[in-house]
Subunit: 201 residues, 2 copies
Amino acid sequence: MGLRERKKQATRRALQGAAVRLTLERGLEKVTVEEIAAEADVSARTFFNYFATKEDALIGDAPISPDEADREEFIEGGPTGDFSEDLVHLLINSLAGPGGLAAHRAEATQRKELLDREPQLLPVFLGRLHSAEQGLATAVAQRTGAPEDDFRSQVIAGAAMSVIRHTVKRVPYGDAGDIEAARDLFRKAFVNLGEAFGATD
Amino acid sequence: MGLRERKKQATRRALQGAAVRLTLERGLEKVTVEEIAAEADVSARTFFNYFATKEDALIGDAPISPDEADREEFIEGGPTGDFSEDLVHLLINSLAGPGGLAAHRAEATQRKELLDREPQLLPVFLGRLHSAEQGLATAVAQRTGAPEDDFRSQVIAGAAMSVIRHTVKRVPYGDAGDIEAARDLFRKAFVNLGEAFGATD
DNA sequence: GCTGATTTTTTCAGGACGCGCAAATATTCT
DNA sequence: AGAATATTTGCGCGTCCTGAAAAAATCAGC
């Protein structure tokens, strides 16, 4: 990777870090883009070359996007063959993989704190999840051989994203056992859905 | 209801209507608050006395909030005793009741059109659904005797809201049979969730 | 229907956001 | 080193959204 690319990533991280830190210190509406840019040693205009809005800098980009290999395996019916269990596997890997939870525990903790303290960020976050949901929906559709815009697949993906949302809200990120805790909650949640809406209840 | 109150509601409707109409005509970013206010014959500042943001005027307030009586009945285990079926009943009544779908078919159709055409509105809409979801979660918790912040109840509510979201996306609002179509889709979606996550599959 | 109290609307000023544009600066390639 | 390319920056601009105080409308009581 060339110098140019490295510098860009550094600036991006600097901006994001400054945005998060300042917002946690003072609150979202007491921090201006100008201050964030100054903190990262770039001009205010440059900030908008990296992020479309102040909120975007706080949420960051892809919250959950599965590894292509995992996605492939899921589509083909793996790894266990049981739908629920494979979905848990896919989602956990999306969270735990590179760029995911385990790699950036500190950032994830901060983001959680931000979402708690700054309600205005919630819609932005939900929008990101919605994008991820669509990808998941097509994966589910492909696994079951349904058309891409299949209603059932979309509902399942929506429920899954809802499970993710409520799970990450509860898992203690700082903890080393967070991944296992998340996996456990996923399973519980899915079983719970099966019981609540299943015939035998 | 006094004159004052009536005028306020009229202004509110005028603003909302103007916002929707102009946005459908020209697109969200080609319409200014000033134009919307002018169309409703009030000052731009008055617009912000009614809506916090331009987007708020387009989405409107409560998308789904169940009637208090229905909510009560659901909490007490009614009307049929079957969880899935009662949930369908509650959600349908939330949509179809006064202030809901059936009462404002034209507006609902327009809002759907807006959400299709203006992606920036989606996060706002999702935020509204999230608020409604919390209310639903506590209702579910109360019905099952769980504590208010019960994980299972929240997951179920989240799945239910996801079902609503995908359902309203598909139901043809103009149609007179929309309510029945929605009820049908709700049932299908819940059964689908039960099968996908249930033990027997 | 007049009067004073309350609520709403309006005017005004101003900070901040976010974007288009063109000049300046930094990196890459040959 | 010099040309080609990509990024940063400064500037201007329109818009959003808010506070405060003046002006207008509505209300309650007589």
